[in-house]
């Protein structure tokens, strides 16, 4: 496909507490063995887009580790392929501050890479919305409807989550966007379309919009491009009708993971292949006496105890007599014997010693930092 993919690996308004202390939003584990970036990259790859730049800010170490050379996503290419951009790798960046003033500034500082691409179109995505979407269809509609910018939106449904700060739009009957506002409530009415942080536009238009904005000291893509220019530009909405997940605070993160325990929901997200880093783990092993129900379990797990309504990432060990309920356990975490966990998120490589008990609440899960020993 004749398009360049640009991913923002961070979000301006997330509050994920301990989870983003050591990593960027895009590299947060999700759905057992995956990271958020896996879903976003797979959408591009499945749509035939093989030229992708990822814009990072801070704490992108884990993202770099996870992506490696991009082999698992078939993005180790001579032509196109994967590039991870950081403010510090910008040519001639003699200042060492490395903070972007906003999304437009981030794009501006990534221009050296964007300009080199031969693609005609750009498809931009943030990292807070997870879904399965076919960009080929979106681009087709963008061209057919003669849009300047296509903005992908959705209608939040029963039980679906929207955080403070999400961009809500208003459109006329031809889906032309004429207003954009930020969500200031805790939940919103379900007939209000919400922007999914995904945009399609011509690369040449993006280049000139960014140059213009920078010249006037305007740095925010939503406010200074969509909101400001929706009168002048033909900004059209494109509805995403399939299921989505939104991750921007810990309670939502927990809820969204739990949704995957519904096999129908899970099927919709995994309709097309989702690629992730290969770990060469052994198959999961369920010992004699283990008891597991309604849970997602990943390769390399070894279960001797009980796991109920939980999501386990790769290489998790649950000892004898331990009970893990309504929890998310990340990679290589070890739960020794006779431990009780309920409404807990254990980050990677945590060790929970014998006989410990950790209980959070559904709306406020306990989060244990990476490599903690409890």
């Amino acid at each position: 496909m004749n398009a360049l993919g640009i991913i923002f690996s961070y979000s301006e308004y997330e509050n994920l507490r301990e989870l983003t202390k050591i990593r960027t939003l895009a590299s947060i584990p999700f759905a057992g063995k995956y990271r958020i970036i896996d879903f976003i990259l797979s959408n591009y790859v499945n749509s035939g887009i093989h030229d992708i730049s990822i814009i990072t800010k801070i704490n992108y170490h884990s993202l770099v580790d996870h992506l490696g050379a991009g082999k698992e996503w078939d993005l180790t290419r001579k032509i196109g392929g994967l590039r991870i951009l950081s403010p510090f790798s910008t040519p001639g960046s003699l200042d060492n501050t490395g903070n972007y003033k906003g999304t437009i500034d981030a794009l501006y500082k990534s221009m050296h890479s964007i300009k080199r691409s031969m693609a005609e179109y750009v498809i931009i995505a943030g990292s807070n919305f997870i879904c399965s979407i076919d960009y080929e269809e979106v681009l087709k509609s963008h061209i057919e409807r003669n849009a300047d910018i296509t903005l992908i939106y959705t209608y939040p449904r029963e039980g679906e989550i929207l955080p403070h700060g999400a961009a809500m739009i208003r459109m006329d009957e031809s889906e032309r966007v004429y207003e954009l506002n930020y969500n200031k409530m805790d939940s919103i009415s379900q007939d209000m379309p919400v922007c999914m942080s995904m945009f399609v536009l011509r690369k040449s238009l993006l280049e000139s919009l960014v140059a213009d904005s920078i010249a006037f000291g305007r740095y925010d893509f939503y406010r200074d491009i969509i909101q400001r220019l929706c009168g002048n530009l033909n900004i059209l909405g494109y509805e995403h009708k399939n299921i989505y997940f939104e991750v921007s605070n810990v309670t939502d993160y927990m809820k969204e993971n739990m949704k995957l325990l519904d096999e129908q929901t899970s099927k919709k997200v995994f309709e097309k292949p989702v690629y992730t880093k290969i770990k060469d783990s052994v198959p999961a092993y369920y010992c004699a006496g283990s008891q597991v129900s309604n849970s997602i379990i990943s390769d390399g797990c070894k279960i001797e105890g009980t796991v109920i309504n939980s999501v386990l990432s790769r290489g998790v060990i649950v000892g004898k007599g331990s009970v893990v309920k309504n929890s998310i356990i990340m990679q290589d975490t070890e739960i020794l014997n006779n431990v009780t966990l309920n409404n807990v998120i254990l980050d990677k490589e945590v060790i929970v010693r014998e006989n410990r008990q950790l209980v959070g609440h559904e709306t406020y899960p306990v989060v244990i930092e990476k490599k903690s020993i409890i």
Binding site: A31, G32, K33, Y34, K71, L261, E263, S266, F270, P273, V274, Y275, I278, D280, S281, V282, P283, A284, Y285, Y286, C287, A288, G289, S290, Q291, V292, S293, N294, S295, I296, I297, S298, D299, G300, K302, I303, V307, V311, L312, S313
Partner: protein, 408 residues
């Protein structure tokens, strides 16, 4: 050419065999490509041994139905064998001038690829077969080979005296120097059986391969021709003792047994061994889902599965669906298979992508054999459908779909 790198040792992996004793399981694929251990193929063990031993150049000699094996091996990336220099190469027979020639025997297969071997200009060549389950450090064997100044070193393992008739047996002096070979003797002098793992000093091997090829009567086989000829010529041949787990998975029985060994904590074959990882080509599948009414008891399950039945002492490959009420015991279910509601499997192997309906009974009447020997294994072939309610007796091998006619 002059700038190519010299390799100390490269591996030549004989993957040509059909493995006809595996019946329907090798109808579509060569034996080394048979699934094993929940997510592996048999060849993964040999390839991982190579990589973990620091060998980065592997030639795979194929001629029987290589398509699936080729596409499984691909560019070798899963084993880190996608190297710029060396890496993995599939070596089929080819035509030299007018006429092509199929591989006549194991030695002839290597002979026909002398040119390939010389591209790496190796000092030593490791000859392997791709159909055994074991973990072995060939680097240590090479050190031994260099130390003993052998022309050929043969890895051996101890077998019970009553099983020597199944192996090529090797007789050595107290320093493990070989003085005699016995091909499948009923009463062997020793208990050392050849594992089919050889290290040769390449210059030596090359000259014997050329000599063997000139001999029209030769069967061009390593065990039958090359080694005896070397011994006769007075070359140093040494045995190298291997003490770990080793299994030839040449029959349905041994394939089943060796899978079950993985579930037996007393058998020394541990897959979860980070310094000696077994690499394989991983499918793109989500994590597995275990349903509300599932029971799992000494079971291995892989990515992409959805398990809702009761399982005991079984191995479940990726992307398998097991519906509610299904009861699976002592069985192996390969990739992409579906097992319907209330279906019972006992001592069964279900091959890839097969669909088993509801209320089916596979391995019916399976009873323990004499001396506590396990019952006969039932095999359901790949890509077929077994309709609801079908009963398949223990020991059957089903090649084609069983569809009940309407009204039945």
């Amino acid at each position: 050419m002059s700038r190519e790198k010299k390799k100390e040792m490269i591996a030549m992996l004989l993957a040509g065999g059909q493995g006809s004793r595996l019946g329907i399981l090798t109808k579509h694929v060569a034996k080394p490509a048979i699934p094993f251990g929940g997510k592996y193929r048999i060849i993964d063990f040999t390839l991982s041994n190579c990589v973990n031993s620091g060998i980065d150049t592997v030639g795979v000699l194929t001629q029987y139905r290589p398509l699936e094996l080729n596409s499984y091996i691909g560019n070798g990336q899963p084993w880190d064998l996608d190297r710029l220099f060396g890496g993995i190469s599939i070596l089929p027979p080819y035509t030299k001038s007018k006429e092509g020639e199929w591989y006549k025997g194991t030695a002839n297969a290597i002979y026909q690829n002398i040119e390939y071997i010389e591209m790496s200009n190796p000092t030593y060549v490791l000859v392997l077969s791709g159909d055994h389950i074991y973990k072995m450090n060939y680097k240590m064997m090479l050190e031994y080979h260099i130390e003993t100044e052998a022309a050929c070193t043969i890895a051996v393992l101890n077998v019970p005296p009553e099983e020597t008739y199944r192996f090529g047996m090797i007789n050595t002096d107290e320093n493990l120097k070989i003085y005699e070979f016995e091909e499948k003797p009923l009463h062997a002098k020793s208990t050392m059986a050849s594992m089919g793992v050889y290290i040769f000093t390449w210059e030596k091997l090359k000259s014997y391969l050329i000599a063997d090829e000139a001999n029209k009567k030769s069967e061009n086989d390593f065990g039958k021709n090359i080694m005896p000829m070397m011994l006769e010529a007075g070359e140093n041949l040494y045995a190298y003792e291997y003490k770990g787990y080793w299994k030839d998975v040449g029959t349905v029985e041994s394939l089943w047994e060796s899978n079950m060994d993985l579930l037996d904590p007393d058998v020394p074959i541990e897959l979860n061994d980070p310094p000696w990882r077994i690499y394989s080509r991983n499918e793109t599948l989500p994590s597995q889902y275990i349903g509300n009414n599932a029971k799992l008891n000494n079971v291995m399950v892989s990515d992409g599965c959805s398990i809702n039945g009761e399982l005991e002492k079984s191995i479940i490959f990726p992307d398998v669906k097991i519906k509610e009420g299904a009861v699976i015991k002592n069985s192996i279910v390969m990739q992409g298979a579906t097992v319907g509601n209330n279906t019972a499997l006992n001592y069964a192997i279900i091959a890839s992508d097969t669909v088993i309906g509801d209320n089916v009974c596979i391995g019916a009447g399976a009873a323990m054999g004499p001396d506590g020997h396990h019952p006969e294994i039932t095999v359901i072939g790949p890509y077929i459908t077994i309709d609801d309610g079908v009963v398949i007796p223990a020991g059957a091998m089903i090649e084609e779909s069983i569809i009940k006619k309407e009204g039945e």
